[in-house]
């Protein structure tokens, strides 16, 4: 356990020495502030300008989901960058031959950041929510988005050879989040084109918490993690 904690502490140390990653980790709070105070103001302007009773308000839940997914996305991007840095300097290999082992390394670089981002996402949503989502909804949303965050870490590391490529792939990882707005705007059967994306199901579930939408989330997350982990493992071998 001590080994795990020191490996995780080392992870923080690497992030804190990298100003870009530090900004990445603070960005969800900035986004939260902007959403919480900017969007209702914008809504006031828009409603008076168009003379309607609501313009953005129907999509407040969409903003909440987006904020909920942003925290894990940013955190897991940072952890992917740290993993790539470790691969570059053969540290993943070296840590595999210490008592922390490969499994401990993965725990401290994927699972811990995922868990912390879930917690943070919960806190940020509690403070900055636009819709006053319930605690249960918030817990579920934070948990599922953290899983998606870990998938994105796996994707970035699996598909890139170094930090520069990692940043490019991270944008591709952004495609993973495209599923979020779809259930809000497309109600016909065409929306199921996005059914391969876990984010689509998370969004659907927040709109309509049915068992089918929950199954959709679990199945897509399991399938993606199966595929991505296989590629990822080759990278860190």
């Amino acid at each position: 356990m001590r080994a795990l904690i020191s490996s995780f502490t080392q992870f923080w140390r690497q992030i804190s020495k990298d100003s870009m990653l530090l900004v990445v980790c603070v960005s969800p709070i900035l986004a939260g502030l902007a959403f919480r105070f900017g969007i209702p103001e914008a809504e006031k302007l828009l409603t008076s300008y168009f003379g309607k009773s609501a313009v953005l308000a129907p999509y407040y839940l969409l903003f909440d989901i987006f904020l909920g997914i942003l925290t894990p996305y940013m955190f897991c991007f940072a952890s992917a960058m740290v993993i790539l840095e470790d691969i570059d300097s053969s540290l993943t290999n070296y840590l595999s031959v210490t008592p922390i082992g490969k499994s401990g390394y993965l725990l401290s670089r994927l699972v811990f950041p995922g868990a912390i981002s879930a917690l943070l996402s919960f806190v940020i949503l509690t403070i900055f929510t636009l819709t006053n989502i319930s605690v249960l909804q918030n817990i579920l949303l934070s948990f599922f988005t953290a899983c998606i965050g870990v998938l994105i870490s796996l994707l970035i590391v699996a598909l890139s050879g170094n930090k520069v490529e990692g940043m490019a792939i991270a944008k591709l990882g952004g495609l993973f989040l495209l599923g979020v707005p779809i259930p809000f705007f497309i109600t016909g059967a065409e929306r199921y084109y996005a059914a391969v994306l876990p984010s689509f199901w998370v969004s659907s579930f927040m709109l309509a918490p049915s068992i089918w939408n929950a199954i959709g989330i679990v199945v897509t997350i399991i399938c993606w993690s199966g595929i991505l982990y296989r590629w990822f493992k080759k990278k860190i071998a």
């Binding site: 001590r2 080994a3 020191s6 490996s7 080392q10 140390r13 690497q14 020495k17 300097s89 053969s90 540290l91 290999n93 070296y94 840590l95 595999s96 031959v97 210490t98 008592p99 922390i100 082992g101 499994s103 401990g104 071998a237």
Partner: protein
């Protein structure tokens, strides 16, 4: 301490390491020699548990490597071919971090740094280290938790003669304390000097395995080579054991006509060339 039997391994499905068998006892330095790409580092990766889809058996410290748990590493020190250090941390911070991973009693950091003459660079960032300094830091990192088994992959490469000499002294001292050491090197003199036994690995197979002394003796006796002047510079040679019957040599000696004379013992390098059929890269 280490028992390998009928070990085979492949990266791609095409056979690579084949039928490797050997044993290494406590307090022994065992060398892997062989041309670049022969599979020496691969074999070390198998023995340290990094590659686990091998066939046959590899038992290290009583544990079949592919079934190791993480506590297996409490007793194993590894110095990889390439330094694995946190560039943004200082030497001391690096050692402190790696030390936290072990439950065993550690060797103190100042003692370690002193061993390889880095005591004045403890607070310098590793990114500001030279290549040889990184190699030395990487080496003491393997000794940090005082393990019984050491895997050293080309530890002396990139070191100046004096640091290389000191590192060899440390390696021998560790052996004398009862450690089991697996060592890879391209330097045949180092191998002769350090290793109790060596295995020549060529194209994934062990081609010879014995003490450096026996291997050298198997190559045959030492020769004596000499040069003299007779219209132009000429040279002759005879076996060291037959100098008395070389009439020309005797005459050159009594006439003080020799230009040069030296004995030449076979070296591990000759054995290497003979076994691998190619020169060392």
């Amino acid at each position: 301490m280490i028992r390998v039997k009928d070990l085979s391994f492949s990266y791609t499905g095409k056979p690579f390491l084949e039928n490797i068998s050997f044993e290494v006892g406590r307090g022994e330095i065992f060398g892997f020699l062989g041309p670049s790409g022969a599979g020496k580092s691969t074999l070390q990766k198998i023995l340290t548990g990094l590659l686990s889809d091998y066939r046959g058996s590899a038992v290290v410290n009583g544990i079949e490597v592919k079934r190791h748990t993480n506590s297996f590493y409490e007793n194993i020190g590894v110095d990889f071919e390439f330094p694995s250090l946190y560039e943004k941390l200082t030497a001391k911070q690096n050692l402190e971090f790696f030390g936290l991973l072990y439950q065993r009693k550690l060797i103190t950091i100042p003692d370690l740094l002193r061993m390889v003459h880095l005591e004045n660079d403890a607070d310098k960032k590793v990114s500001d280290f030279s290549k040889g300094m990184k190699s030395r830091l990487n080496f003491i990192k393997a000794l940090l938790h005082n393990p019984d088994i050491l895997f050293l992959d080309e530890p002396t490469s990139g070191l100046d003669p004096s640091n290389s000499y000191d590192m060899k002294k440390i390696i021998k001292a560790e052996r004398d304390r009862g450690k089991t050491i697996i060592l890879t090197t391209h330097n045949m003199l180092d191998a002769t000097e350090l290793c109790d036994r060596v295995a020549f690995i060529v194209d994934g197979k062990i081609k010879a395995l014995d003490t450096p002394h026996n291997l050298i003796m198997s190559k045959g006796a030492a020769k004596l080579c000499y040069a003299y002047f007779e219209g132009r510079e000429k040279s002759g040679e005879c076996l060291l054991s037959h100098t008395g019957s070389d009439e020309l040599l005797k005459k050159l000696i009594s006439d003080n006509k020799l230009l040069s004379i030296h004995s030449s013992e076979p070296t591990l390098n000759d054995i290497f060339m003979e076994i691998t059929g190619r020169a060392l890269q």
